[in-house]
C-alpha cells in the first residue's frame, strides 16, 4: 500500500544554517506530495505541494522538488530561523483514495 517515510525524528540546527528534511514515499500511482508545518499548540498548515516531476516549488523560503525517479520530496531551506522551529509532516495523496497519508513527522529545533 501507499506509505510515507520521514527518517529523522528530530533535527537540531543553529540559526542561519541550511536544512534538508527527508521524505520518501511508496505508491504505484501518480503521487501528490505535501509538506505541512505545525507550530507548537497550533494546527498544521500547508507549506508546499507538488505533483510535477523535477519541478522546484517554493514558499516562505522553503523549497522542495518532487523526484519520481527516487520517490522523494525533501524539504529544504538555505538559512533557518528561530521561528522555523516546528513539526514538519510530509504527506502523500496517490491512488484514487480519499485522504492524505502523513509521515511520522520531523521536529526541527533551531537554536541561537
Amino acid at each position: 500500500g501507499d506509505s510515507v517515510t520521514q527518517t529523522e525524528g528530530l533535527v537540531t540546527l543553529t540559526k542561519g544554517l541550511p536544512v534538508m528534511l527527508n521524505c520518501t514515499y511508496q505508491t504505484t500511482y501518480s503521487p501528490f506530495l505535501f509538506w505541512y508545518v505545525q507550530h507548537l499548540n497550533e494546527a498544521p498548515k500547508l507549506l508546499l505541494k507538488s505533483s510535477t516531476d523535477n519541478k522546484r516549488t517554493e514558499h516562505q523560503g522553503f523549497y522542495a522538488t518532487l523526484h519520481k525517479s527516487s520517490s522523494s520530496f525533501h524539504l529544504q531551506k538555505s538559512s533557518v530561523q528561530l521561528s522555523d522551529s516546528a513539526l514538519y509532516f510530509c504527506a502523500l495523496s496517490a491512488n484514487s483514495g480519499t485522504y492524505q497519508r502523513f509521515g511520522t513527522g520531523t521536529k526541527l529545533q533551531v537554536v541561537p
Binding site: 501528490f32 480519499t98 513527522g105
Partner: protein, 114 residues
C-alpha cells in the same frame, strides 16, 4: 485565510462516558476529515466524509466512533464509550476537493480520558 473551528478546545471525561467533538469547517468546503495525534507525534487519519457519507476510515476508527454532519451544521466525531487510549488531540480538517487539495486544519480538541 479560511478557518476551521473546533469546539471544545479541551475535554476531560471519565472512561466509559460519551464525548462529542465539534468541527465547524470552512463554509464552501465539501470534504471533511478527522485525524488523531498523540502528544506531538504522527497525524493519523481516522475518517473522511463527503456528501453525507463516510468515504473511507482507518483501523483506528473503532466501532465506538461515529461521524455525522446533520443539515450542514457541525461535523461531529462521537466516541461512545470512551477508552483510555482515546486520549489524544483530535484535528478536524476540510477541503474543497478531495485528497489532492490543500486541507485546512482546525486548532484541535485535546481529549483526556481518565
Amino acid at each position: 485565510g479560511p478557518k476551521v473551528l473546533q469546539i471544545p478546545s479541551h475535554q476531560i471525561i471519565d472512561m466509559g462516558q460519551m464525548v462529542t467533538l465539534n468541527c465547524d469547517p470552512v463554509s464552501n468546503h465539501l470534504y471533511f476529515y478527522w485525524y488523531k495525534q498523540i502528544l506531538g507525534q504522527q497525524m493519523e487519519f481516522l475518517v473522511n466524509f463527503y456528501n453525507g457519507k463516510v468515504m473511507e476510515k482507518s483501523k483506528l476508527f473503532k466501532d465506538q466512533f461515529s461521524v455525522e454532519r446533520p443539515d450542514g451544521s457541525y461535523f461531529t466525531l462521537k466516541i461512545q464509550p470512551t477508552a483510555l487510549e482515546d486520549s489524544a488531540v483530535y484535528f478536524c480538517a476540510s477541503s474543497t476537493g478531495g485528497a489532492r487539495d490543500e486541507q485546512y486544519f482546525g486548532p484541535g480538541t485535546r481529549l483526556t480520558v481518565l
